[in-house]
Symmetry: C3
């Protein structure tokens, strides 16, 4: 059985981190799937999905680490070619990758107590985003 | 068909890398699935799953690269707020991500000859860990 | 329903980035699957799969970021032990990870307009590569 849902949200870019755990849980409940895999996927090349303990301290720490890995004010060939200034966004998204897959057990994601699913918007402007949540199971 | 198994292990933290290929293979054999996907997932926000050639040299090289990306002795807001000293663990885990999904062909993971599935414990203390192995296929 | 296909290509190593979106699409069409998950997986411990806007500028930017994360000319214990000189390749592949999973909707990957699936060859020599594309769905 396959069930596909969507999450819509507005994000501010510049490593804007959104806790989407409850949203994914709602799609999972709608799916009726008890055991299987849920894949959360970011359409677009300037966002990523991962898990983290979603508390303001760690979120800031993660942003700082990402800034070190691909600094916003570096030279980016993408900016030189296209002039949209979001070369850092594309590099960050390619490194962090667009999806995470989580096992579903008893109708719930098998997350740890302090583990949340997050969307990170790496773009350089506010955007409306559509994330795909797909459940495959029984 | 969906089959869920678990791997229990004790890990030491500080980028402790465990080769879990054989353990995943045992769950796969128990599942009876011949073709499908196996998702290996770390419950908790201070561990990650990836693949690597599991030999002591590369394992040390990977640890050194991770230490450069999110140094243990940096400032972390998480530590300032919660005092548990594992801000670096959370950042590393969010960057490396909690799961890897591998195709199953003929009842085996489609790994390369020198490619092993590993769990990396990023916490700052020894812990008992439970990993989820979920197989979806036929 | 499970369908497994392969992509064969020749890659040059040193972060050689290949757009494989059309190849994955062909496997997907062959599978006949309309809704489900497609997992693209690199057999071998010196390659990775991710998504990116595949244009020459961003591709160069990504290569530069990866060179910063795990520089080619650093010391690697792997090289000291095995003498094959590709310690940097193994570290990069373990960090970027071997697979990406993408939802399939209406027989198409749910990619954004400017989002392509890419294979990155991190080895230090030209190689023939075999990637696994596995579709699970209905």
């Amino acid at each position: 059985m396959v069930y596909t849902g969507k999450i819509k949200l507005k994000a501010q870019g510049f490593s804007d981190v959104h806790d989407i755990t409850a949203d994914v849980g709602r799609v999972l409940a709608d799916s009726g799937v008890s055991e299987g895999l849920v894949c959360v996927f970011c359409k677009g090349s300037t966002g990523a999905i991962t898990t983290i303990e979603y508390e303001p301290g760690v979120v800031e720490d993660l942003k700082r680490a990402i800034e070190r890995i691909a600094p916003e004010d570096d030279h980016y060939d993408h900016n030189a070619r296209w002039g949209d200034g979001n070369g850092f966004s594309h590099v960050r998204a390619a490194l962090l990758k667009p999806s995470v897959t989580v096992p579903v057990i008893g109708g719930q994601m098998a997350l740890g107590t302090w583990q949340q699913v997050v969307f990170i918007d790496f773009d350089n402007r506010p955007r409306s985003r559509e994330l795909i949540v797909q459940v495959v199971g029984q």
